[in-house]
Symmetry: C3
């Protein structure tokens, strides 16, 4: 193994990215996306400028396992006028006002009847909820509860100009090849309109991770990025490309809710882990949460909530896919309503998520190589290699060798790694064993490789 | 699997049973049983009216592994007269007064000599103990310690009219066939004279369980019931029928002490469990104790105490047999003395034990079938099957589908079962995983089977 | 198995040993040993009187894995004279004054320059440290810090008369054959000059253990004793004899620091145990620490400290070797300085260590034989063998049989051993299971073997 193979190329420019994702956010936020239609295609086009996305299209009606590729939905405009003819709701103001996938409707209805088509959140009276009805034909509006309470009895004029028609279900992928065909899947979803943490933080973190990985001089693994409408998109990907990817899939990670105020990344472990068979992704996630608990934590798999990992980890598919989130869906009041905006989701938080996840991927790249002593029989004579003090007495008790005074931190790491480099332990297992961050072991690990005392291999 | 196959036939009559076992108790209680002789045969005859018992007889002297079928013992009458010729003890009053299996003896003895033949319990001065000497020839009386203390010096007239002679060792079995030849053994013992909780509660609970099982429309397993004198009877059964039963034995349960005031059933696990290899019985017992801790608890196997499970779980036999008890032998002062009567053992407690154990057997019948998703690739589209809300927003957060408002209890159960139905998990394992009673999962389980989303098989 | 085979011969004379190791200590203590040279050979000669040591010699320069057999070092005398010509340090007073393996040097040096060659312990101002420089040529003196502080500026006359020349690296072995060729290695080291607990306690405890083992009528295993200079000696042994011994090595034990005030023996477990694969030695050590915690405790393997187990447990060698110590190196202030003398290390403590370790070896000899019931089907009828009370009632509740009144301690042990003698459990596993010292089970174990109810085998 070349020690420097996973080092970043020097010309990586951090500043650029910050501004970059900030403005990309602003471009993406106002678009009225749904699971199929022009909104998602427009979004892909914007991202394609920064990442060579390959956009796939599946015709309406195509069978996708137990599902069917849906028709496209397009919002032209939806308005609600009150008894006094004044405009009350208008998707030109917020595209959350429309029930997502609402059928077109034009007519005058009583307040009583209208109420059946209104959605609001009584305990968040200023928030407009995000509501969908993808698979049952309904029309409706989402409205702040405060506004709803002020509606007076009378006739309301509804004009919902949407189109539901045959077209395509789209998703997009991007490949980043590495030394091996073994692939890590990084996926996120893109189908919510104007929601920040629970939507755009995922694709934006993905973009940053893509840039960081692309700038590595070498990658051990190949990477496949996937952006799709949630649920139906990952099911479509599984149906179209799943069996092809399966054989070379090392593991995967679903990105969601990576821009909130919480500081740690929490990994939702895979279904396989849940049933007692942790995958490589679970093992690394568990190790990092144990050894670097300031940055990482864990959630158990749970099929009753979540994002596309529910599909990747459905019991017959059973892929080694975890999910990474920060401020988790369902656990913050801004979830799925108009309060989940750029103020709640900070660009800086998305950035730090991408950095943490990139560090995680770097450990994933080298942490599971088995280390083996290159010498037989007893310890190596470290002293003649400058790795042990040559005089042994009270004066050298805290020296790692004749010059390094560090409380024997380096020497102890060297002796521990040597002892555990029996061809059965990896760097991360050694870190686990020593209850130390893998990163702290790197200097000793490097000395041992340079001195040809250990080798690293599969 | 037919979901209703384990339902009880509607014509089962509970009231009848209550009276039934109450009067059966009264018939059985006064009989002076021992390990062999007319007492046990008379007891079998009474029970045979309610259960088609097949009574086996093994001639005295037949070798039974390390043991030998004993002679029969019959008590005609035993009396003790004092120096004043007044009668002190009389087995017509209580058959506990005689040392069980006492040899015949007629003679006049000094109080000093008599004391060597008296058995009492100083710290329970009103109780007559139950004492046996099956395999060493002795004569003796059991007496309340208060009465013993009043005995005056002088000559005592002993008249013990018992017979010990060649005859038969008896035990009785009853078969209840099911769909499979795999058999569950349910055993209890019948050799104690006039003791209630530690004796008659077992056969009476067995009778109720037999009636309940018999009234099921179908049974997955076959059942074999065994009533035998304790220890020597189960050894005889093992010697005569053990190797035949072994191959089709799924598991077994020894019934003892099921009528006391304690409310929970406690299972004494098998020897195999003790040495780290839990059997199917142990696994179900452990699950029920964990998931339904109000009704079930556990005891570790212990070869130094217990009943016939000591034989079934002897190390070479090593059957998957647990023991079920409520107010456990040795742990209550009434144990093995005249205070263990119908007042201490309530008929209602025997009834509730039988109900609990019957519920346990029903879970045993279906809880270990492996559940498998019938669809490939991703989650099924539950919405079009009426198993998921069609509109998703804050209003439907607590709906399991468009109509069921239950905090998503049903939906979560459906999603959890689906996720765990990977062909490797059973209903009880799923309940374990979810830390929920298996009974609570049944509605979701039924919906999934009816919708052909999962199948259940071996 | 003959129950008495591990009994000690009656003519073992304890008194003799006490005086013996006391005077042997006095002979060995003043010798100026190093890793190679006349000091170690003289020490072997003294021990050879009590143990038939086979002394091996490896010529300087011979390659030993990553190491090379060193030259010999011999101290004639080293002195330091002060500016006033008075003698300050003299190895005739304490051979700790010389830097071990110091090169010869004769010259006059300034105090400033001299300071670079002095070693002392500021926080133990009266102690002369033990300092070595085996593999880098240096000259130097070790001095009490109090004395060092009094040194006045001026010219110091150094005269170090040592010789470093080609010769031999020595180590010594001794074999004690047993019934089987499977061998237990018992090793200690002999290279420190005039240090008591951390040096001579090991060889002296070894001597006592050798005598005790030799006096057993039979031994199941063979024993190999090894005395060598620390590190390089065990590496040499591994290089010369390791592959031959490996195949028949059952396990081993490094003896060190066995004479201090601490009362328990603590076992440092093997590397293999550390990585989750406990060896037979680890299992026994763990059992004894759990079951006899007054006498035994455990330390985890740690490659950053220790003695020759670091070589025996280096990852490619990976022998099943534990280390036994009492007052452990590095954990007491007297370690590696002149305070580690006969006052700190008591002869009585060395003796009790040897007794504990001998008891450990006896359990090692028989504790892992698998026990098997000799009867089939149910429990044996213990009553007719005098192993169970023949009358059962309240009076016999605390009797193990008709005569032994012990709260059923013997009977419970018998029933437990019988239940666990399934051909898969050993005596020590049974003791583990029952959470009882293996020694307490011996009476029941003997009764069962004598009555041919169980057999013990591999």
């Amino acid at each position: 193994m070349h020690l420097d193979q996973y080092r970043e190329k020097p010309h990586m420019k951090k500043k650029m990215e910050v501004f970059c994702i900030d403005s990309i956010f602003d471009e993406l936020f106002p678009i009225c996306r749904s699971i199929a239609g022009p909104g998602i295609r427009e979004s892909f086009s914007i991202l394609q400028k920064y990442m060579p996305l390959d956009i796939k299209a599946i015709a309406t009606g195509v069978r996708l396992f137990d599902w069917t590729a849906p028709k496209e939905w397009q919002l032209h405009r939806a308005t609600l006028h009150g008894p006094d003819k004044k405009i009350i709701l208008d998707t030109e103001i917020s595209n959350l006002h429309i029930l997502n996938f609402s059928v077109p409707f034009k007519g005058v209805v009583d307040l009583n009847e209208l109420q059946n088509h209104l959605y609001s959140i009584p305990n968040l009276p200023d928030a407009i909820p995000y509501v969908t009805s993808y698979y049952a034909p309904n029309w409706g509006f989402c409205i702040a509860d405060n506004q709803r309470k002020k509606l007076l009895p009378g006739k309301y004029e509804v004009e919902i100009k949407t189109e539901i028609q045959d077209g395509y279900l789209n998703y997009a992928t991007c490949d980043l090849p590495g030394d091996s065909a073994q692939t890590i899947l990084i996926s996120s979803y893109l189908c919510h309109p104007s929601l920040a943490n629970n939507e755009l933080s995922g694709p934006l973190a993905m973009l940053l991770i893509y840039q960081k990985l692309r700038q590595l001089e070498r990658r051990r693994y190949s990477y496949k990025f996937l952006l799709a409408p949630e649920t139906i998109g990952s099911i479509a990907f599984l149906a179209m490309e799943g069996s092809k990817l399966r054989d070379q899939l090392l593991g995967g990670m679903v990105l969601t809710c990576l821009g909130g105020p919480e500081s740690k990344i929490s990994f939702k472990l895979s279904r396989s882990d849940w049933v007692g068979a942790p995958t490589v992704m679970d093992r690394f996630a568990r190790s990092m949460a144990r050894l670097d608990s300031e940055n990482f934590s864990l959630r158990e798999f749970d099929p009753t909530e979540g994002s596309d990992e529910r599909q990747f980890c459905s019991p017959i598919v059973d892929w080694p896919v975890i999910q990474a989130a920060k401020t988790v869906y369902g656990c913050y009041p801004q979830y799925h309503n108009s309060l989940d905006d750029k103020e709640f989701m900070s660009i800086r938080s998305v950035q730090s998520s991408a950095e943490c996840l990139f560090a995680f991927l770097k450990i994933l790249e080298c942490g599971d190589l088995k280390l083996t002593n290159q010498l037989q029989g007893g310890e190596p004579q470290l002293g003649r290699r400058g790795l042990y003090p040559n005089i042994n007495g009270p004066r050298t008790d805290d020296f790692s060798n004749d010059t390094v005074y560090d409380g024997r931190r380096l020497l102890n790491a060297i002796l521990n790694i040597l002892s555990l480099s029996d061809g059965r332990h990896t760097l991360i297992e050694i870190a686990d064993k020593l209850n130390i961050s893998p990163i702290e072991l790197i200097p000793a690990f490097e000395q041992l490789v340079i001195n040809q005392l250990i080798s690293a291999g599969n």
